[in-house]
């Protein structure tokens, strides 16, 4: 198979680095971009550059942020004595959608998983500890996924900070093995309302 012009192969190669995109799909996307309007192509390129330039991680909670702090940390109406701990930035979205929760977040960046080589040092657990030790935190809600790795992470964190503050876990009711990201609003809202001490 001929590789075509160099810029085209470069684009194909870049696209095939994306998760879930194989070589063939990458090629199809590349040809699609090549055929599209100049303005559409430019807008896509700018969006990619902009997301890298403008979206980073919040310096407080490690949620996605445009600037040093995320919108939630900057919102003066949020309850600053509550921290909800989640695995990934994507897990913040379904909890926000329930409108049950008005506190702050802490995004760990994953869950403990020796199989994948992920130990406590690889997660933002030390940063969470520092937030709690800073004082003024009345409750930490552990909302890691109800999976093997999520449960282990929750229990690890609970053991670390139980002395300093009240620690709760989202109520069972989330189907075991389910990801937070895929839980529906009703179940998640109920889980948030019925959380229990751990």
């Amino acid at each position: 198979m001929s590789e075509g012009p160099a810029p085209l192969s470069r684009l194909t190669a870049e696209l095939s680095q994306l998760p879930g995109i194989g070589r063939r799909t990458a090629q199809r996307l590349a040809f699609h971009i090549l055929r599209s309007d100049e303005s559409d192509a430019r807008s896509l390129a700018e969006a990619i550059v902009e997301v890298k330039e403008k979206v980073g991680l919040c310096e407080v909670c490690f949620n996605l942020a445009e600037g040093p702090r995320c919108r939630i940390c900057e919102d003066p109406s949020r309850e600053v004595s509550l921290i909800c701990v989640v695995e990934e930035p994507a897990d913040v979205i379904p909890i926000e959608r329930t409108h049950e929760y008005r506190g702050l977040y802490h995004v760990l960046g994953g869950a403990l998983s020796p199989i994948d080589g992920i130990d406590a040092e690889d997660l933002r657990i030390a940063e969470l500890r520092r937030r709690v030790e800073g004082g003024g935190i009345l409750e930490v809600i552990l909302a890691t996924n109800p999976t093997t790795t999520g449960e282990a992470t929750a229990s690890h964190i609970a053991d670390l900070i139980r002395e300093q503050t009240q620690v709760t876990r989202l109520a069972a009711g989330l189907p075991v093995g389910a990801d937070l990201e895929h839980a529906d609003e009703v179940t998640l809202g109920r889980a948030m309302a019925g959380r229990s001490n751990v």
Partner: protein, 364 residues
Amino acid sequence: MFVARVEADRVRSLTGVVFEPDPGLTVIIGPNGAGKTNLVEAIFFGLTSRSFRTSDRRDLIPFGSAYARCRVTVSGTGVDHMFMASASRSEGSRYTMDGAKIEQAEAAGHRPKVTVFSPDRLELIKGPPAGRRAHIDSFVAARWPGRAGLRSAFGRILAQRNALISRIAAGQADRSGLATWDSQFAEAAEALAGSREKAVAELGERWAAAADELGLEGPKSLTYRPGAATTSEEILKGLEEKLENDLRLGRSSWGPHHDEIRVELDGRQLRRFGSQGQQRLGLLALLFAERSALLETGGGAPLMLLDDVMSELDAHRRERLVERLLEGGQAVITAAEGELIPERGAILRVAIADLLEDSREVAG
């Protein structure tokens, strides 16, 4: 609930075979290679979309054909339901009830549970403990559906702990991470061991009674032999004590993954010292014990599919087995020769040759 009709459209050597079993006991008779086991497998496949002989459904596709398909009609609850399972090389497998796709968990509520005896399953009695653990865990899941996940939950935690142990042994991780996984391990191990203990306690006496009834003579017992402590505190303590050993081995050497469900006759393990016939009776008694436990606790009687169950049993014990099967519930058994089956008016006898002839006429 019972199976009223089986249409093995294409399953292994069977094409267009229609079979209507009795709600009680049916015997399928035919010489070696006639297709008896294939028919029993077809019933299981149509009901569950799985096979008890193979994990690859494509084995059921008739040689030279593109797909396998079986339809099974379940009656007895007022409305009939038709289950259909198929497997195809190009399109994967399908499982439907009344024409609509259905998941295993949902289907289970609309069809009878199925218990299978086949000569391969003697491995359960003869083989290593892992098979008995898996079997008891599946009984736990049938008996207490809320506990169905305990086995796999423990398995996942064990895998994580093993990974951590081998990374610590290789100097890639430090020991501080162990406490978390040990406590997860201890909790899951306690839940799993507790369920196994409860299950075996329910089955023990029933097993001995069924075995007596089938003619397995002598003092006997079915007991749970935990491979580790059974309370989470003791398990935690044990894990600490065995840590150095675990690190040397690179895995968790202690826990419910070493449990045994011991089957004994005359104080000796049936798996090591039992005769072929005794092992067969031991397995049958276990299946009957599970059936009676499920029946008494409000579950429906499972359909019993007993393939090639009569061989190696003497005339007296064959009688007892048939008596037991006639006590209630639906059963389908196979035999190479009709003489192996005691004469009873209530038994429906079906010659596989007749089923095959009918299918040829229809295709005709």
